[in-house]
């Protein structure tokens, strides 16, 4: 009796009938009543460890229509690649989804009542695979450089209405998500690396001259008010800078860029950040003789701070012309982050690099699955005239 009652249920089963098939029993594999190409059904292969991210809605695909899509978790970026197969991969949905796929008649058909049927909805031509990649973060710099925050912005911010803001090229966090192929964490650290700041809901980089102005004003006030380099009171500093005409967000940003908050809740100016800032400002005028540059630089450094040439690793390069050494700005942060383009720029700058010079310009490169030795092997030719000589790297 029970057998009879259960018969109709077991008559129509999909994936379960295949997966739970008992020894010495069989199931009929048939084309689904809606069998077809079903291009809207995609198979995505992924690591077990990424499953929770996907199942809890923490994953998005990002990219412009003309770009290859990437899949982003909260912290990482993956390229999505289609890998085809010449095998016939018959895709069988579970029974609960047969209805979902529109197939109800199988159960009613009299000739199927007696046996198990697993309907094939499509033959999958292949699967999408994920490969971890470096975020495509250069785009971020390009977007934010379109319209840096300048002195004019500070004056006009009150008058700009929403309409005007939409017309100028300004990007909110979600605009950047739409345009930059990077995970949220990577985007956040990219913004930090660019010293970007969120002003009125839009992410901006601040014009160098404007930053120079506010830092000089801060240092000026430091002397005037007899503040300590290591014990700046946030409210006091911001209050004074605001009365000098700088917006509150920019004053706050200035502390963040050139200082760090200590455990005691006061701000401490970062010696290296401040010194590097002045070196950059001086060299913006062009190449200088080393001795002249050093004199000028030391003159700019605020009292209580100590500049050293080591701070300029990855910021400047030197040239020997005759007996004179010249120094010029060559900033690692102005270089592309994709390795092929980075090396091409480096070898355009100089055909041959010694390791000590090269290292600051490549140490930030990260390619998932490739070590820094691997990078050098791939993009450079290493020559060593004698065994004890320094190796020299040139383009491959």
């Amino acid at each position: 009796m029970e057998m009879v009652a259960e018969q109709p249920k077991s008559a129509c089963r999909g994936a379960e009938a295949v997966l739970n098939l008992q020894p010495t029993s069989s199931v009929s594999i048939a084309y689904h009543s809606l069998f077809g190409p079903h291009d809207d059904l995609i198979l995505l292969e992924l690591d077990e460890k990424l499953l929770p991210d996907v199942l809890h809605h923490r994953v998005t695909l990002r990219g412009q229509p003309d770009e290859d899509a990437v899949l982003c978790t909260m912290s990482k970026t993956y390229a999505v690649k289609f890998v085809g197969t010449s095998n016939s991969v018959l895709l069988i949905p579970p029974s609960e989804q047969l209805v979902l796929c529109g197939n109800t008649q199988d159960c009613d058909e009299k000739d199927r009542v007696e046996k198990l049927v697993a309907p094939v909805i499509k033959v999958a031509p292949g699967v999408m695979e994920l490969v971890e990649v470096a975020p495509r973060i250069d785009r971020l710099k390009m977007l934010l450089s379109e319209n840096p925050y300048r002195f004019d912005d500070a004056l006009m911010s009150e008058e700009l209405d929403e309409m005007e803001k939409n017309n100028t090229r300004l990007y909110s966090w979600s605009d950047l998500n739409d345009r930059v192929q990077a995970s949220n964490d990577e985007l956040r650290s990219g913004l930090q690396a660019l010293s970007a700041v969120e002003i009125d809901g839009y992410w901006r980089i601040v014009d160098e001259n404007y930053m120079d102005g506010i830092l000089n004003m801060l240092l000026h006030n430091l002397v005037l008010n007899d503040w300590s380099l290591n014990g700046l009171n946030e409210t006091e500093v911001i209050g004074v800078l605001q009365s000098d005409g700088f917006p509150c967000e920019i004053a706050q940003h200035c502390l963040q860029v050139y200082g760090s908050k200590t455990d005691d809740g006061v701000w401490k100016l970062d010696e290296k950040q401040v010194c590097v800032h002045f070196a950059r400002a001086i060299l913006r005028g062009g190449k200088m003789r080393m001795d002249n540059f050093m004199v000028e630089w030391m003159r700019k450094i605020p009292e209580g701070m100590q500049a050293s040439y080591d701070m300029l690793e990855g910021e400047v390069l030197t040239d020997k012309i005759g007996i004179e050494t010249w120094v010029y700005a060559f900033d690692v942060s102005s270089l592309p982050s994709a390795p092929a383009e980075r090396f091409s720029m480096l070898f355009r700058e100089r055909p041959k690099w010694e390791w000590n010079d090269l290292q600051p310009y490549i140490r930030d490169l990260s390619v998932p699955g490739l070590s820094s030795e691997g990078l050098l092997l791939k993009y450079t030719r290493r020559t060593q005239p004698t065994p004890d000589a320094e190796p020299v790297f040139s383009a491959r």
Partner: protein, 128 residues
């Protein structure tokens, strides 16, 4: 542009789909070429605990159930009619497949048509 990957099933309840994979192509007889819907492909039989056979026409394949190294998610592209927005929804997961990687073995033909169920019985003939 962003496409949100959605999932309504939750971690524990993601419905499991099945894959039957074989080398080469299944070729229906020309008469059925344009109306494959509901057509039987063949009989899948679990001959013993390890061995599966798949009988398609007069050919028999021998294979086994293999867990996938990495799971596959079944995603469905959902296009919202009113706007350009596209979403992907996870509708299933695949963790194992019945894989036939051997060349098919020819079965001695039977005279009576329409008795495919019985044809599949030879699965028990030579389980390796």
């Amino acid at each position: 542009m962003q496409i949100q990957v959605k999932c309504n099933c939750g971690e524990q309840n993601c419905p499991e789909w099945a894959i039957v994979e074989l080398q080469g192509v299944i070729e229906p007889q020309p008469a059925f070429q344009d109306r494959l819907q509901n057509l039987e492909i063949g009989q899948l039989c679990r001959a013993s605990s390890q061995t599966y056979t798949f009988t398609v026409g007069y050919h028999e394949l021998t294979g086994s159930k293999v867990p996938l190294k990495k799971p596959l998610l079944v995603l469905k592209k959902i296009r919202h009619a009113d706007e350009e927005k596209v979403e992907l929804e996870v509708i299933g997961i695949i963790r194992q497949r019945i894989l036939f990687k051997t060349r098919p073995k020819a079965l001695i033909s039977r005279s009576q048509p329409g008795t495919k169920e019985r044809v599949s019985a030879p699965g028990s003939l030579v389980p390796k």
